[in-house]
């Protein structure tokens, strides 16, 4: 049976991903240190740990056969991959938020809203579908401070508990996308390594 390479995302999805693979009989080696490729307790499965935003591109290109990613990142990149399994963790939502003390959605003075986000494609599509022109500003972190610093009027960002929004004087206005962790697979790997793919899929479904 062929060996499968699985890309895991650093950050909030990492621990639950490792736990799921451990229950499926493929636990990543703990002493991996700074190695790029991490062997697992199953010799047919190895792991690759990358930044969350990079999982779809690794899997789409075939650099990894499978990956765990959030649907937020997956839809933003528009990667052409298979999505065989909803993993049932990492739930959150991508939402529009704006300062509590300004009216929403109409801004005073008839100006077009500037929206700061790490998800420019999803934000553009959301406002576009609603027929509301906005100006998107892409930022790579600390999105919630953008309105405080007058970088933008609104933000589009992931919301879990809502505490970060509240701490920055922001109110959640509308949901763009419900998100969760999914298993993704390279289209060619599913065909070329079919036996290994089906075997792992079955173990993950049960785990």
């Amino acid at each position: 049976m062929s060996r499968l390479r699985v890309a895991l995302a650093k950050g909030r999805l990492f621990d639950p991903s490792v736990e799921r693979f451990r229950r499926a009989g493929a636990e990543p080696a703990a002493d991996a240190g700074r190695r790029l490729l991490i062997p697992s307790s199953d010799p047919r499965i190895e792991f690759l740990v990358v930044k969350p935003g990079d999982v779809p591109v690794y899997v789409e290109s075939g650099a990894a056969d499978l990956g765990v990613t959030g649907t937020d990142v997956l839809r933003e990149t528009g990667a052409d991959v298979l999505e065989p399994l909803d993993l049932g963790f990492g739930f959150c939502r991508l939402s529009v938020a704006s300062p509590a003390d300004t009216p929403y959605p109409a801004l005073p003075g008839g100006i077009t809203a500037r929206v700061a986000t790490k998800y420019p494609r999803l934000a553009q599509a959301h406002f576009g579908a609603a027929g509301r022109p906005v100006d998107i500003i892409q930022v790579n972190g600390s999105v919630e401070v953008a309105p405080l610093l007058n970088l933008s009027h609104w933000i589009v960002d992931l919301v879990d508990t809502g505490d970060t929004l509240k701490a920055n004087g922001l109110v959640e206005r509308e949901t763009v996308l419900q998100c969760g962790a999914v298993l993704v697979a390279n289209r060619a790997a599913q065909k070329l390594k079919l036996d290994a793919y089906l075997d792992l899929m079955e173990r993950l479904e049960r785990a």
Partner: protein, 319 residues
């Protein structure tokens, strides 16, 4: 003018030198020799066509992937998106009265818009063949056999042809209400069995087949097993695949996998369709199938079946 310190090319454009260039020339030569032995005549269509030629052949979805610009008279030109459209145009005009079937082949670059910074080139080297005017099983077998011979000619051993039939999922999809088809096809395309089974939990009749048929993949026995759960409308397509399997040699069969889960191109293909996968690559290295409605769009209805291979993908793995 400032000195040219480093070459600058547009995104998705590559220079190929040394071994990379030699390899492509060598692959192209091996493929064209194979096609010539199989009695396919080379056709060299122009690199520039009116965009209408490609839209006529491929439908409106092709529009956003054309690289196009206005001609001097204002008509819109496109760089060659594929060879099939041009071959169909020539077959319907220049060869309109020629004896059938026509066996045509080609080799050269095609140009397509790809997502920006996706790491995909906008120019790809293709080689391929079209068998026009013959709609029977023998024509399907000829193209599948030719596909295997072409990949062998490139020196690759570890490859497979994933073969399906456009008629297999069609009855199930046709049984769905119009507004649900796109969503269901999306789940089939992404192999998301969970969503598919939840959405079709109460489905009866032909639609119920969509929770199982798209996941049938394997050798002849998988196909034979699936025949027992297939809706009546899907049987003819599956029997065509079984008949094709009968016609292949044992050696050819080792490269063929029956895969009923492909929903891409269902508007285009009317019979068998396939993708070629080569070990060591993350994407298909070729595709083909039967498109009997294509020639009618150029005013000369006749059956058509063909294949094209992506030599850049093959060059990256073969030594």
């Amino acid at each position: 003018m400032s000195p040219l310190r480093h070459a600058v090319t547009p995104p998705g454009s590559l220079d190929l030198t040394g071994e990379a260039a030699r390899r492509r020339r060598q692959l192209q030569r091996a493929a064209m020799e194979t096609l010539e032995r199989a009695a396919y005549d080379e056709l060299i269509p122009p690199t520039l066509e009116y965009q209408d030629t490609f839209l006529r052949a491929g439908g409106p979805d092709v529009a956003e992937r054309l690289i196009r610009f206005p001609d001097r008279d204002g008509r819109i030109l496109a760089l060659r998106y594929d060879f099939t459209a041009s071959l169909a145009r020539v077959a319907a005009t220049t060869f309109g009265d020629a004896a059938r079937p026509l066996r045509l082949c080609y080799a050269g670059a095609v140009y397509r818009q790809e997502p920006e910074r996706g790491g995909r080139p906008r120019e790809m080297l293709q080689v391929g063949a079209e068998l026009l005017g013959q709609g029977d099983l023998a024509a399907d077998v000829e193209i599948v056999r030719l596909t295997i011979a072409l990949i062998r000619a490139t020196g690759l051993q570890d490859f497979q042809v994933n073969l399906g039939h456009a008629g297999v999922l069609a009855p199930g999809i046709a049984a769905l209400p119009d507004e649900r088809r796109a969503e269901v096809r999306g789940w089939i395309d992404r192999k998301d069995r969970g969503s598919l089974c939840r959405a079709l939990a109460g489905a009866t009749g032909d639609a119920a087949s969509l929770t199982s048929l798209p996941f049938v993949i394997g050798r002849r026995d998988a196909l034979a097993g699936a025949l027992r759960v297939a809706p009546a409308g899907a049987v003819a397509g599956m029997e065509r695949l079984l008949a094709l399997d009968d016609a292949l040699t044992a050696d050819e069969r080792t490269h063929v996998v029956y895969d009923l889960g492909e929903v891409r191109g269902l508007e285009y293909y009317t019979g068998i369709h396939f993708e070629v996968f080569v070990a060591g690559t993350g994407r298909a290295a070729g595709a083909g199938g039967r498109y009997d409605e294509l020639m009618g769009r150029f005013g000369q209805p006749m059956p058509a079946v063909g294949v094209s291979l992506d030599l850049d993908t093959i060059a990256e793995v073969s030594r």
